[in-house]
């Protein structure tokens, strides 16, 4: 870890972190602000929903229509796309560029000519990814918590909310590790950003596909989204050990692999 590099990266990435955080916070708050109206139209929606196929609800992570009307059910069903998908895109774009940008901007020739080890470069930069993703998650979850407190009509399980928040954080961190790994495999590639975003969207698409199509349900297992349990209103909702192992284990393996690869990587400019 090198303080100078770490501070520089924090500063250099602060603007985009604040923008992403702001956008996701606004989206969450806006969505939650329509909860009241949603409840008022409850009966109409209930009637409408009952004719929807079961799969369409499952797609939103909800097993029972009535769950959608609890504030936490509404939160987890409607904010998935922001917190899970946008948060993951933020994490993977940041992490896949943080090392690689030095190559395609040709600044690696300066950075690596200064007294720094490859390990210090890697750890300082991945620490910034780690902290930024945590920051994004804390602020957006806080926005969710505050807006739920404002709009709720009945109490909800804080415990379930915290578990959902932790799932989101782990998924985002996992994509952070994927980004690091991808960037150590390619050479000075600019299209890494498009690739990263594409990967998140494809995996999310596979997950939704597996949810709504019975025959394709197995495909879901290759998508990390599958391991995020969104069924927050289920009375037995808890953190599953298997999923914890999946996220933490894979993230660690990918990060360690990236570290080893980066230490031996030829930096061509």
């Amino acid at each position: 870890m090198n303080k100078n590099l770490f501070a520089r990266e924090l500063k250099g990435n602060a603007f985009s972190l604040l923008m992403w955080t702001m956008v996701i916070t606004v989206l969450i708050s806006l969505t939650m602000s329509v909860y009241g109206t949603f409840l008022e139209n409850n009966s109409k929606i209930l009637a409408m929903m009952s004719i929807l196929p079961k799969g369409a609800l499952q797609f939103k992570g909800i097993s029972d229509i009535n769950d959608l009307f609890s504030v936490l059910g509404f939160y987890s069903a409607n904010n998935v796309i922001y917190m899970l998908v946008l948060g993951s895109i933020y994490a993977i774009v940041l992490s896949s560029n943080i090392l690689l940008k030095e190559e395609y901007n040709k600044t690696a020739e300066y950075l690596l000519s200064w007294p720094l080890t490859r390990s210090e470069v890697f750890t300082s930069k991945s620490a910034v990814v780690f902290l930024n993703v945590i920051f994004l998650n804390i602020v957006t979850a806080a926005a969710g918590f505050i807006s739920m407190t404002i709009v709720k009509t009945e109490p909800y399980s804080i415990n379930a909310f915290l578990i959902l928040t932790l799932y989101t954080l782990l998924l985002n961190l996992f994509f952070g590790a994927v980004g690091l790994f991808m960037s150590t495999l390619v050479k000075r590639s600019r299209p890494i950003t498009i690739l990263s975003i594409g990967l998140v969207l494809i995996l999310y698409f596979l997950y939704t596909l597996s949810k709504i199509t019975e025959s394709l349900s197995k495909i879901g297992y290759i998508s990390p989204f599958k391991y995020v349990n969104l069924d927050t209103v289920n009375p037995v909702y808890r953190f599953e050990f298997r999923n914890l192992c999946y996220f933490i284990g894979l993230s660690l393996i990918l990060t360690i692999l990236s570290y080893q690869l980066y230490k031996r990587k030829d930096i061509y400019l």
């Binding site: 520089r8 690596l112 400019l269």
Partner: protein
């Protein structure tokens, strides 16, 4: 004899189908101003990038100040400065920010004084954003960052590219004065004339191999000129028999062209009765010199 400051032993770097460099051996003594010349793509930058551990050797190895370039890279870099051939400092920073960032990695000497002194010498505006700077000004930023910590060894890769003649002269003066104070300079370039101005010894690299290590004096004695004469009327081989004609002169129409290493006065004397419309005497390109002496 003391340990060479740069010691490259049988260094090979291949990547994919590209040649890279093959079995490069080179020693540079401390206090030297060492030229490293060769045409573009000969392997100069590859060699330098191995020394800086940007890329890893395929075979062989190298030491700087007796330390291994792979294992002790960080320690080596405390005492080396580097000016890359492509000057692309962080474009989002301004000059001051970049130089302070760079100095932050060394924690030696008084950075602020040194930055002030060098930016003044190169007439560089410290408040300008790097993305707004011209190629030449970026090069100045590059040069300054390499000198902030007063390195023992300065590695320059095409360091004068983009600098105007006045700045180039200042830069050479600075290098000479730093060299007098003990700094070793490793000067990579494809321009023979600037290497001649500065260096005591040169290594010539071509197609990934060192083909000659020579004192600059020896090379200077072989000073070769490319002569092109346009006569008022039909040209003939007017210079037959003159000592120092290095190839078979080419005659076409009114023009005569040849390589000459003899005394210019002898040539003038030989031509004194001819009516000449135009004449150029130029330094041959490095490639032409190679073709001549090392093929």
């Amino acid at each position: 004899m003391s340990v060479p400051i740069i010691d490259i032993r049988d260094l090979t770097k291949t990547y994919g189908k590209d040649r890279g460099i093959e079995h490069v051996n080179l020693e540079v003594e401390e206090g030297d101003v060492f030229g490293f010349i060769g045409p573009n793509g000969a392997g100069k930058s590859t060699t330098i990038r191995v020394l800086l551990n940007l890329i890893f050797p395929t075979g062989g190895g190298a030491t700087i100040m007796g330390m291994d370039v792979v294992r002790d890279s960080k320690k080596i870099k405390l005492y080396t400065g580097y000016v890359p051939s492509d000057a692309n400092p962080y474009s989002s920073m301004d000059v001051d920010e970049f130089l302070n960032y760079c100095h932050g990695f060394y924690r030696t000497g008084n950075g602020a004084d040194r930055i002030a002194e060098l930016t003044e010498l190169f007439e560089l505006d410290r408040k300008r954003k790097i993305s707004d700077l011209s190629m030449g000004n970026r090069k100045k930023v590059s040069i300054i960052q390499s000198l902030l910590h007063s390195p023992r060894l300065l590695i320059l890769d095409e360091a004068t590219m983009g600098l105007d003649p006045l700045m180039q002269a200042r830069f050479f003066e600075l290098i000479r004065s730093e060299n007098r104070k003990g700094m070793t300079i490793f000067f990579s370039s494809h321009t023979l004339s600037e290497v001649q101005l500065l260096c005591k010894r040169v290594a010539i690299i071509k197609e990934g191999r060192i083909i000659k290590v020579e004192d600059i004096e020896t090379l200077r004695k072989k000073q070769l000129k490319k002569i092109h004469i346009e006569f008022a009327d039909r040209a003939d081989n007017e210079v037959t028999g003159l000592a120092g004609i290095e190839n078979t002169p080419v005659v076409s129409g009114k023009t005569l062209q040849f390589m000459y290493s003899g005394d210019i006065n002898d040539l003038m004397l030989k031509l004194r009765n001819k009516k000449i419309a135009d004449m150029t005497i130029e330094e041959p390109s490095l490639e032409e010199i190679f073709m001549h002496y090392y093929n």
